[in-house]
């Protein structure tokens, strides 16, 4: 583990926290009927029964919380996959996990029930199925090659996204609804979605930090890990399982958002100024970066496009460009 100045980590974390808070405050105060920052803060403190207060407390606040929470969860999910495949190109979207979860959630929404627990359970099943398929396809005697995991993941993702569309069309969702949901975003997300999201997400998040010693060992190759007395297989399974759970709860709330899990851990590496930062710090800063990223994207799309464009569209563009730039530069090391 290469050391890094702790002051830098603290400074970077502070910047991200401020960014996240600023985006949340903007989300809470701006909208079709802007409230103003001061009044929004007062409404957060006490409900005065006006429409403006209702908008802040019941519509904008849960949406902002969902955005920040989903960002953090996806960032952790991506970081776990990056650790498992030992490559910075990992992302729950690129490994098919979000698409599989989306399929599970769509099945549950349209054919079974919209009951929150079942929704999340179906998402987890779908995500686990997709992850298993991806890793089975990519497996070879030479072990898990990162590039192959991603390619197999793309194939799995395309399949599950098409299947999700088919399920939703057959169940008479309008193309508009389908499209909005598939893009991913936070339009009309409220306290019900937050209630579905936070318990499982925070449990899984805590579990990620609980297994950091195992994750540290996964950074080495299997032989080194074994000589240090760790079972690489067990750690890998735990990491993938937590990654699937985090991705699945996020999808259940926000739809299949792409690239957050890829970009946020990268930002964290960049901010910490180390290729291999301390695992726990890196995970924490990644989660913060994810929260700041998605909260800002949601605030930006809300103010730029008057609520017509879901945050997922903006995230996809930014994430895609960053991915192409990084993959082009670092492809040879990445292979």
């Amino acid at each position: 583990m290469i050391g890094f100045p702790p002051a830098r980590a603290a400074g970077f974390a502070a910047v991200l926290t401020v960014l996240c808070a600023a985006a949340t405050l903007l989300s809470v105060s701006a909208g079709a009927h802007p409230t103003g920052l001061g009044r929004a803060l007062i409404f957060l403190w006490a409900d005065d029964g006006t429409n403006a207060s209702y908008a802040v407390r019941e519509l904008r606040l849960p949406r902002a919380l969902c955005a920040a929470g989903v960002g953090a969860a996806l960032a952790l999910s991506g970081a776990l996959i990056q650790v498992v495949i030992r490559n910075p190109l990992g992302d729950p979207g690129l490994t098919g996990v979000t698409a599989g979860s989306a399929f599970g959630v769509a099945i549950s929404l349209t054919l079974l029930t919209a009951a929150p627990t079942l929704l999340v359970a179906a998402g987890i099943c779908g995500g686990a199925l997709a992850a298993a398929l991806t890793f089975l396809l990519a497996r070879s005697d030479a072990g898990l090659e990162p590039l192959r995991v991603i390619l197999a993941g793309i194939a799995v993702a395309v399949f599950f996204l098409a299947a999700t569309s088919a399920v939703m069309i057959v169940s008479r969702s309008s193309m508009q609804t389908l499209y909005f949901w598939m893009v991913g975003g936070f339009i009309n997300r409220g306290w019900a979605e937050w209630a579905l999201f936070w318990p499982l997400a925070s449990l899984a998040g805590l579990a990620v930090f609980a297994i950091t010693p195992l994750l540290r060992l996964l950074q080495f190759d299997d032989a080194t890990a074994a000589s240090l007395g760790a079972s690489a297989g067990l750690g890998r399974i735990a990491a993938v399982a937590l990654s699937v759970i985090l991705a699945a709860v996020s999808v259940a709330v926000a739809g299949p958002l792409a690239f957050v899990g890829f970009v946020a851990p990268h930002l964290a590496r960049l901010g910490l100024g180390a290729r291999y930062p301390d695992m726990a710090t890196w995970l924490a800063v990644s989660a913060l970066a994810g929260a700041a990223l998605v909260a800002s994207a949601d605030a930006a799309t809300r103010s730029l496009f008057a609520g017509r464009v879901p945050a997922g569209a903006l995230i996809t563009i930014l994430g895609g460009v960053v991915f192409l730039a990084l993959a082009r530069r670092g492809f040879d090391n990445a292979r």
């Binding site: 590039l147 793309i154 395309v158 569309s165 017509r308 464009v309 895609g320 192409l324 993959a327």
Partner: protein
Amino acid sequence: MRGSTRRLHALLMGAGLLVALLSLRYGAIEASWLDLAEVFSADPGPLAAAIIELRLPRTLCAAVIGIYLGVSGLVFQTVLRNPLADPTLFGISSGASLAVITAMGVASALSPSELSQGAASSVLPMPLVPPIALGGGLAATLLVVWLSWRDGLLPLRLVLFGAVLAVALNGVVMVLVLSLSEARTELAILWLAGSLYARDLANLWPALPWGVAGLGVIALALPWLSGLRFDADTARGFGVSTALAVPTLLAAAAGLAASAVSIAGPVGFVGLLVPHIARLLYGPNLSDLLIGSVLIGGLLVMTSDLLGRIIAPPIEIPVGIVTSLIGAPIFALLIRRQIIRAVS
């Protein structure tokens, strides 16, 4: 031409005709064979008229899309010597979509306001759609090749960059579509899913000259294509000028793919699957493969469109989604094969 090849051609053609007939007969409203026969009478009934007006054009569109994408895929896979190449997989269709949607937006911004409230197709002149799609498709292809070029084109690398570029471009399309006004959103969304719903001959005609030109170039350049199956030195040994042949063929193939996209939006995996099926059936002879790709491509897209209509009537599953459901698992198997080969 060997007898077995000729038999195979005849068999596929027969299957194509059969599916075309079924495609005319089945749909949200089921017609009988008698209704179908009435199409040829001087005074067709309402059902027969609907078949002529609605189902015939979309069946033709499906066949043409299949032919274009199948041949385009064959050329891409042969020239790039990449079994995973597919025009819709590496950004061509996203580039074409982006160009067309942008043009729709510009056209409605320039036109008088009362006009722009209507459907976007009435604002953007139909004949302009294929060349615009072509421009966008070619630009995206160049971008993908430039991004993934490093001492040649690795098959897996090209697919990865193409897929990610496609996702990013779709993000831009999304922002454009959703920030346009409501009336255009529905149309653009249907288009993006690769649907043949309400496609008529007005969508088909403008794409025909470009497609026929592309097919003509490819047919004339068939000897080049045969040479390009081998590496550049061997191809030059056969007397193929790679500097001329490769860009010409790729441009023709991209043009075919973009024309297909201009008819009904992106229809995924056809360009990937058709050449593989053709090679399985016909073996390596390129002139057989070319005819085979035409026949199999038309058959595949017509069948997918038919399936999308009869699985859950009266709801239609867009043909692009059906082809993706069929194509993605096979794509996964092809990647798997590539992985095993790369390791051994």
